[in-house]
């Protein structure tokens, strides 16, 4: 479904991603882990067109995305929940969700279904988004992304700044999405949890892939994982 071929990303002449390959099939859940500055977010940004790769190719359903504007890529069905959520703070929860419906067809029913899935958002539908707690904002950001009916959902640090109990809740919601066959690409700091949750993981370090594989393989490759991630968390 998604294929990255030798993606390189540079900012102001400094290359931060040195050729990353990745293949993602429909229904798969893949995680990207690695220390801060490893290039994880840059890879996500390259996929959704927020930064143009200096070389390499991004293919989505066989179609090259090179040079496409971010909004066009979003309409093809790639949704990004950015780090720090970025909800529309001065709009209400309901208004935020309306913004998520890119197509806008049958909008009433899709929204209802989303509110069933995220009951807390129904409870707070009329409130301004900046009144929500961090965990609630994260749910709102994910719900907003889902309303665009994405084929691929990418989430940057879903657990960032959340209480341990709230992280459990977010991962329960993500597990529900996984059961329904949602294709997901997650970027996380919490290595142990990500390796456990995802079908496969990429370990990034210094802008390159240092290890990749499923739970068992990464456990066998524990030296590499340890070198790039430190003590398992």
């Amino acid at each position: 479904m998604l294929e990255l071929r030798g993606i390189k990303v540079a900012y102001g002449g400094v290359e931060v991603v040195h050729g990353v390959d990745l293949e993602l099939d429909r229904g798969e859940v893949v995680g990207m882990i690695g220390p801060n500055g490893a290039g994880k977010t840059s890879v996500l940004r390259a996929i959704c067109g927020l930064v143009r790769p200096s070389s390499g190719e991004v293919l989505f359903e066989g179609r090259a995305l090179g040079g496409m504007a971010p909004e066009r890529i979003a309409r093809l069905g790639i949704a990004l929940v950015p780090e720090g959520r970025h909800v529309f703070k001065t709009l209400t929860v309901a208004e935020n969700l309306r913004m998520g419906e890119i197509g806008g067809n049958e909008n009433g029913r899709a929204l209802e279904r989303m509110l069933d899935r995220f009951p807390i958002l129904r409870e707070r539908a009329g409130e301004h988004a900046d009144r929500l707690s961090g965990g609630e904002q994260q749910q709102l950001a994910i719900a907003r992304a889902l309303l665009g009916r994405p084929k691929l959902l990418m989430i940057d640090e879903p657990s960032l700044g959340l209480a341990p109990k709230t992280i459990d809740l977010i991962y329960e919601l993500l597990a529900g999405l996984r059961e329904e066959g949602t294709t997901m690409l997650l970027v996380e700091q919490n290595a142990a949890r990500t390796i456990d949750f995802c079908d496969r993981c990429l370990v990034l370090g210094g802008g390159a892939v240092r290890a990749r594989g499923g739970r068992e393989e990464l456990r066998e490759d524990s030296d590499v994982v340890h070198a790039y991630l430190g003590g398992a968390r």
Partner: protein, 611 residues
Amino acid sequence: MRIARLRSPRAAAVSLLVPLALVTLTALVGANGSPSLHATVVTVLCNLIVVLGLQVFIGNSGVYSFGQLGFAAAGAYVASFLTMSAAFAALQVPDLPDAIAGAQLDPLPSTLIAAVACGLLATVVGLPLMRTSTLAIPISTFAFLIVVYNVLANWESVTGGSSGLVSIPRTTSIESAALWAGAAVVVALAFKWSASGYRLQATREDEVAARSLGISVTGERLLAFALSGVLCGIGGALAVHQSGVLNPTTFYFGATVTTVTMLVLGGARSVFGAVLGTVALSTVNEILHDVEGGGSLFGLVSIGNTPGLAAIGVGLILLATMISMPDGISGGREVGELPWLRRLRRATRTSPLPAVSGASGTREPASGELRAEGISVTFGGLRVLRGVDLALRRGEALGLIGPNGAGKTTLVNVLSGFLVPDSGAVSLDGVDVSRRSPSRLARAGLSRTFQAALPFPHLSVLESVAVGAMGVGVGRRRAVGVADEVLGRLGMRELATARAGSLPPASQRLLGVARALATDPRYLLLDEPAAGLSASEGEDLVRILEGVLEDFGCGILLIEHEMSVVMSLCPCVQVIDDGTTLRIGSPDEVQADRAVVEAYLGSSYPVAASA
């Protein structure tokens, strides 16, 4: 010993010499050109001084002022009054006091007096205006310009009214204009690189973060506004002594648009940009003006009479620049900061030497306490804090945990002066500080970081941290030493020359910690510094903060969701839930508490912790 610098001497020299060379070149072209070109170049140099005046304020504060030409007008009138012959003065401005009308000063003293007068005027005008918000300043300065124009145009017996003044001595030579312009370049760069200039740039980059470092936004803006007034006044004084005639419209809308365009075209943050923009736009303007009257473009394309071509051309250039180069031709950088030059330097840079330890010295055993009592805060009917107490002793670390939305950040906002509580009191070492502003609290030794990092994106890492020290009044040179020391301690020295905005978010958060430490705080409030750090980076952070506790002797309040960090650093943890304190105790006690597990940690916590 390693001496940290904000820039290499070579980069500083290049940043200064290239704009000076550009000024010299411009003057040489004028001096050897036709009489009309000669006159044009003098005007360009006078404009340049005004544009540099704009750069001092707009470039460093990031706030647009449309009133600076009012100071150029004031400078022009003051200087003209002082140099005009008594006979002409009696004829044109009969009500002007004799002491001024009969002064008949030389060019230099009259220019200097005009400069001082404009500095004073800018201070008086700035006092109320700089208190208005970032969005209100462009409007209120524009209103000032309108007032100045109307006074000049209507007070006939003193200003000559709308018909203006003639027979002003034409004393501004190309040499003197170039010298003044060169001096203005030096002044603008010296200001930009001074402690005051850095404090102002910090307010441009992020006002909230700047205030948290002890910087008074109003005060720094006022200083730059006054200096800008001085430069604009000099530019106006010189310009009028080139043309010999003065009219209130000379320094009104048209001139405002032209000079602001020059600044934006070149790149407002950069002094080099101001010079480049002025020279580039003047050149284009000159070529288009030639063509306007009918003629040929570079002798190739012949064009008929096209009135308005110059104005249209200037407008199009501004549009094209804003679209393709929003930071102007210079990209907002000085010559010594241009990327290709940085790359050259990186190649020859030697590896950093080991840290100079203990430069700031180990403090005497710390005593004192930051105390909050009965803090309550309500946001639009929602009670966010309901009577919370908190006590942070120096030399100790206190963990503050609780569910998202429990009120932790609100409490830090109250402690650091960003929010006035509905009830309750905050005291610092026994002194009540409940209503003090964030900048005053920072100078009193209370520093904080932010969840959202709030970096100064266009400053380098070293500059960002040095601004922290400058904010609490440390001189520039010492501030750089402090910044270097702090960066060394945090293991960020290799990043010193990187732009803060180019760092990944987690490093920006760590940079926030460095910036706060540079204020030499007695109490440090950290809002989720470990967010986005990997496990090993989190462990490093704990080690760093342990060292800070020991060497700086400050008290650390740590808001953090990463339990491994909180539990290993803090001997005491306070749990807040729903605006009240749920529990205070040791990490073991808190982690074993059923209510805490229920509200915050979650039932899977012990499993996750042992994993």
